[in-house]
């Protein structure tokens, strides 16, 4: 009886091929720095929220990375870009020097900054 239960539990815990692919993609997304960027923005503006209880995480607005920092749905100023960069430096301390080089220009596309951070993380050993 106990052996059967153990077998059932093992089967239930084993992901299907589709689930594996989805989890792999979700894990990949979780490690590309986009979550840290979303959190660093949310720490600067109430307009952006992040839900990390889902996999992958959910950001509001749901097209956050396709907006600029000064978009009305984000609401950052050039001065607040310095705050965002400092937030991101705390969340990704290994990249602090590289993050400091990001221009304090709220007209930047968030996705462009995310792409830079992804490349910087790929560079890390």
């Amino acid at each position: 009886m106990a052996r059967h239960r153990k077998k059932r539990q093992k089967r239930a815990a084993t992901p299907t091929g589709l689930m594996r692919e989805m989890l792999a993609a979700a894990e990949s997304a979780a490690h590309d720095g986009s979550l840290e960027i979303a959190l660093a923005i949310a720490a600067t503006t109430d307009r952006v929220t992040v839900d990390t209880t889902t996999t992958p995480f959910e950001a509001r607005p749901d097209n956050l990375f396709e907006l600029t920092f000064n978009d009305e749905h984000v609401g950052l100023s050039n001065d607040q870009m310095a705050i965002f960069k400092a937030n991101l430096g705390v969340l990704l301390p290994a990249l602090k020097r590289d993050i400091a080089a990001i221009p304090e220009n709220a007209n930047l596309l968030i996705g462009d900054v995310a792409r830079l951070v992804m490349l910087l993380l790929l560079r890390e050993p």
Partner: protein, 459 residues
Amino acid sequence: VAWKPLIFCGACALMVEARAYAQAPTEEYAVRRVTAVFLQQHTFVDVDFTDPLELDDEAIYREGNVTLESLPSATDLRPGKPARLPGRRMSLRVMYAAHPADSDDTLRICFAEIVFRDPAGKPRSAAKLCGGATILRADGIVAAIADQVKTLTETPAISTELPVFASGFLVAAEGETEGGTDLHLNGLDLGLPGLHAFLHLRKSSAEEGDPRNFEAGASYRATVLRDTDRLESIRAQLQMLRRAPTPEARLAASQSIDETMKAIQRQLLAGYLFDVGGRLEGQATNFNVTNAVAEVSTHLQSRTKSLFGARRGFWRFRVSAGVEAGGTLREPDEPGATDSVSQALERADWIARLKAGATLTLLYVNDGSARFLRRLEFEAGVVHRGLLVEEVRFDDVTQTNNTTDTGHRPYAQADLKAYFFETAGARYGAKISYAYGSLPPVYSKVSSVQFGFLFERTR
């Protein structure tokens, strides 16, 4: 400072402003960019499309929808199913299992079917969409980073923020044609993190509308966060989230992150900014008075807060205080001259000022309940300088710099923009600006209102 009656603009101006708000859909329904990564632990392809996807449509994720090959060997890379990326409506990520041949340098991805969402919100299917990219390997990462940094530094900075703590501007006119310039170049990258150059020019031919202000210099900025401890806690929880051995541990870590973030979002202040810099300030545009000024200032920067707790707008503010010190570079044309202008220049040697100021930004976006008003933007800034030693002052009666003075020099400016019509690519409205006070180096009095119609591109 004596109060002067306001001057209302006789001729209304048409103002054109441009902002890049979002990665705008192009209605091309195609692949925009492919990023193909092949590294030791990372084998994925990110595909950016030109338009938003219908992300809930099963057709995008069905078996066999994606083919992926590396070229020129035409190796099948055995792609998985496309996955959505958080915070993106126009992108997909595809993981792959096989390795490209060593001689391959290009990757080609094709989708049998992609379902887009058109501007009307209806699904629009596109068949056989393909794109390609150079394979990003370990030896290409540094060059890719350099390219991306270039993309960021070349993005134009469009600032609608009032640089009033540095200065301010307006135009006044009454029954005659008046002109002026208001040029602000901020955040010019000098290649060193934290170091920025700036240039401000405010000049007008209008009486009581000319600040006669020119400033150019550089400053270094340091940032101190208000919530470093909470962010460090989030960083620790992120590590736990990624290494969590069980779903329960994962959930506990993510709940802790979300709770900590909510605590941060309840705060009003985001951090403190410290600026140290130097600048040349001159009487625009003849430089009859020119000062070299060093400045140390600190700013309390708020977070961006939702307007009245709603999602329809936001507000933010910044409070500043600082010290300015320096010297006058301009000497009298002839030593010992007895005319009033020369004597004023003779008396003014050093600069010592205290200053304090604040800016407030407010945005309201109509949710459809108001019939005409689509959007309202308000921005106000004030700076108050206390002159500790005598400085040259412009005399409005004689139109010369023939006096010197100490004391208080306030300057305030406010802009109100109201938008009444909006299309997919632009919005139309009116703007009214008010300014009062005086700015260095000659403290020419300004008191005026400007009104104009506004056309603003949103793409």
